[in-house]
């Protein structure tokens, strides 16, 4: 666990990313988001599909050019770097992807997939050194080094995900964006990968941005958690605090929606079910994006976007009525 005294590794200020979707319309995937990540910590990022969490991860690594805002890595704004400076800094910032099937080039052997990282940055002097380094990386992630000459499709999902981790580690990064690294894996394999990530963090002092929609896993792995909704950061807090005393009504609904693997669980019975669907990010609601589904919504919510305010030390929420009790739930199935 990182202590809060650790220095800031990444600072994100007012980051926005728009996508043009034709007919002159734009999709606000990320809308004026600010946060920071301390060295050695894991910041979890949760939200439902289309909330912009993956876009944040990709824009953070400059895989997408931002539409506005800045990202400072160790104090340097990465969007102002030249191509060669950017290439150098890419060694420090890596990514692990969601789909263990799509994230490895099917035409290359594992040796070449991991070796590519070494080639690009000239980290191996000759073939023998490259091979030795790949073997070392495979062992680091718990894979059999003898399988280096095999192709990705011969491995299981969990094994492929570990190959992806080995590739990211090949350049000795400081920071890794984990973009839903376990959501495509089977339950029994998820814990393997999560434990591996935790172990690597401890050994190598890594900093993670852990993006996921599985709230229980995010709670388990993260020091702090950020909740996104429709391109906006709506709540950010220490993970225990967020799960025990969520302030934003969306966070509360999200937490209560997770089915708990215990048939006798009492929290299960008191589930908060929010009505309706996610609005379109092309034409988001005015004011607070959550107001169309929010049980607390009042007039002011439609007029003003509530700013992200630090309600308690380290606990931020963007809601006009943060922490207010939710009204009693009525059945969502129409009564008959």
């Amino acid at each position: 666990m990182s202590s809060s005294q650790n220095k800031t590794l990444i600072e994100v200020n007012n980051l926005s990313k728009l996508f043009r979707v034709g007919k002159g319309r734009t999709l606000k995937a990320v809308n004026d988001v600010s946060f920071f990540i301390r060295e050695g910590e894991t910041l979890g990022m949760v939200g439902e599909s289309g909330c912009g969490k993956s876009t944040v991860g990709r824009t953070l690594l400059r895989l997408y050019e931002p539409s506005g805002g800045e990202v400072k890595f160790e104090g340097k704004d990465i969007y102002k770097l030249s191509a060669s400076e950017m290439k150098a800094i890419r060694r420090d910032m890596q990514m692990i992807f969601q789909d263990p099937y799509a994230s490895l080039n099917p035409r290359l052997t594992v040796n070449d997939i991991i070796g590519e990282a070494l080639d690009i940055h000239n980290l191996a002097k000759n073939r023998a050194e490259r091979k030795a380094r790949v073997a070392e990386l495979l062992q680091l992630v718990g894979l059999n080094a003898e399988h280096a000459n095999r192709y990705p499709h011969e491995f299981s999902g969990g094994q492929r995900q570990r190959i992806g981790i080995a590739r990211a580690l090949a350049v000795n990064p400081k920071f890794i964006v984990c973009d839903e690294p376990i959501s495509a894996l089977d339950v029994s394999i998820q814990a393997q990968v999560v434990n591996l990530l935790k172990e690597l963090q401890r050994k190598m002092g890594l900093t993670y941005l852990f993006i996921a929609h599985d709230l229980s896993m995010v709670k388990y792995i993260s020091d702090r958690v950020a909740v996104m909704y429709l391109g906006k950061l709506v709540e950010l807090a220490e993970s225990e605090t967020l799960y025990e005393e969520p302030l934003h009504p969306y966070t509360r609904a999200l937490l209560s929606a997770v089915p708990i693997p215990d048939p006798d669980s009492e929290t299960q019975k008191r589930r908060i079910v929010i009505k309706g669907d996610l609005p379109s990010a092309i034409d988001p609601p005015s004011g607070c994006p959550f107001r169309t589904r929010c049980p607390l919504a009042k007039e002011v919510c439609a007029q003003e976007m509530p700013p992200l305010i630090e309600h308690r030390p380290g606990h931020y929420a963007a809601c006009h009525f943060a922490g207010e009790p939710l009204p009693k739930q009525e059945g969502i199935v129409s009564a008959g």
Binding site: V187, M217, Y243, P261, D262, S334, G336
Partner: protein, 345 residues
């Protein structure tokens, strides 16, 4: 929620009538380099009015079993090698394709994982509901329409009259899955097979669908076979659980038994490897090491032996078969043998 509990208890009662009985089912796929034995001797019983959860990882045979029940599995490459499936006393495997069409959508309803592709995009939602009713229930257009509106209301779709005239693309993912449920339930099926019905949906939408399913369970007396990999969902809605591993039933029991007193190390492993939202995180996750066996050549002995933390000498040699642990619970594990209890006491 009281009625909910009552229902769970009643289904455990003695006079439960079996609706679906699967006996010693073996299904294989022909692939390059051999035969994948996807289902290897599955037995299961679903009683009337019961909600049975089938859990297991990808490749454990849960979806293949369900698809075989409805005879929806393409053959070749798959073939049923052995076993019988009895639905309301009739042998499903002996039916002609025409008789199966009567059964599917009529007495057997189904919901699939992907609500985006399981509706026909060129037909209005109303037509997709009424078509089934006209075919299976011999209803007139008018009756069918009335019933369709009723069903959409039942699954919580507002403005049902208007919605009947709309096309699937005008519905969101969660709404489409509700439509799928409405279609599946319109003909009052005796059995509803739901294959990962909420996996493609977001948690808040999943919560809505689960509420719909729970509500419907208490209102209609439909048996539900719910296939999922999410233990939370099972705990939430099921009466009985079947845990599958490597094409076999690893353990079966009531929800309570499976979650509080699992008798198979795989079930225990699954429960230990998922973090719980209501736990504090100091408890480390215990992953199950390794990967499931390749079913081109399934291991002799227990399929889980290579990943188990209690593996004994016998496990690698002889398949344990199911040990009955109570009248409702049984587990495919040698640890339940008397001698194992003595040796490890």
């Amino acid at each position: 929620m009281k009625s909910d509990n009552k229902l769970r208890n009643s289904s455990k009662g003695q006079n439960a009538q079996p609706l679906l009985e699967v006996e010693d089912l073996h299904v294989s796929f022909d692939v390059r380099g051999g035969e994948v034995q996807a289902v290897r001797g599955v037995n299961m019983v679903i009683n009337k009015g019961e909600v049975v959860g089938i859990v297991g990882e990808s490749g454990c045979g849960k979806s293949v079993t369900a698809q075989t029940l409805m005879r929806l599995i393409p053959s070749p490459p798959s073939r049923v090698k052995k076993g019988s499936i009895r639905f309301a006393g009739e042998d499903v495997l002996k039916k002609s394709e025409k008789e199966m069409q009567q059964l599917r959508g009529g007495r057997m309803g189904m919901i699939f994982q992907d609500p985006m592709t399981s509706l026909n995009p060129t037909m209005t939602v109303g037509r997709q509901i009424t078509e089934n009713l006209i075919r299976h229930r011999n209803m007139s257009m008018k009756e069918a329409h009335k019933r369709g509106v009723e069903m959409l209301n039942l699954v919580g779709i507002p403005l049902a009259e208007t919605r009947m005239k709309q096309y699937p693309h005008e519905f969101s993912g969660g709404m489409r899955q509700r439509v799928m449920i409405a279609i599946a339930l319109a003909c009052d099926p005796e059995l509803l097979i739901a294959d990962e019905p909420t996996t493609a949906l977001d948690v808040t939408i999943q919560a809505q669908i689960l509420e719909v399913m729970k509500e419907l369970r208490s209102r209609l007396n439909t048996s539900i076979m719910l296939i999922t990999h999410d233990l939370g969902i099972v705990a939430d809605v099921c009466d009985k659980v079947i845990v599958m591993y490597a094409g076999q039933v690893a353990e079966t029991g009531t929800v309570h038994e499976i979650f509080t007193n699992p008798k198979h190390p795989y079930t225990q492993g699954l429960l230990e490897s998922i973090p719980r939202l209501d736990d504090d995180k100091s408890q480390p996750l215990v992953p199950i090491p390794g990967t499931p066996p390749d079913l081109i050549k399934p291991p002799t002995g227990c399929a889980f032996a290579a990943r188990c933390k209690y593996t004994m000498d016998i496990c690698t040699r002889v398949d344990p078969g199911l040990f009955e642990c109570s009248s409702t619970q049984s587990a495919r594990c040698w640890l339940n043998h008397e001698m194992a209890k003595e040796v490890h006491a």
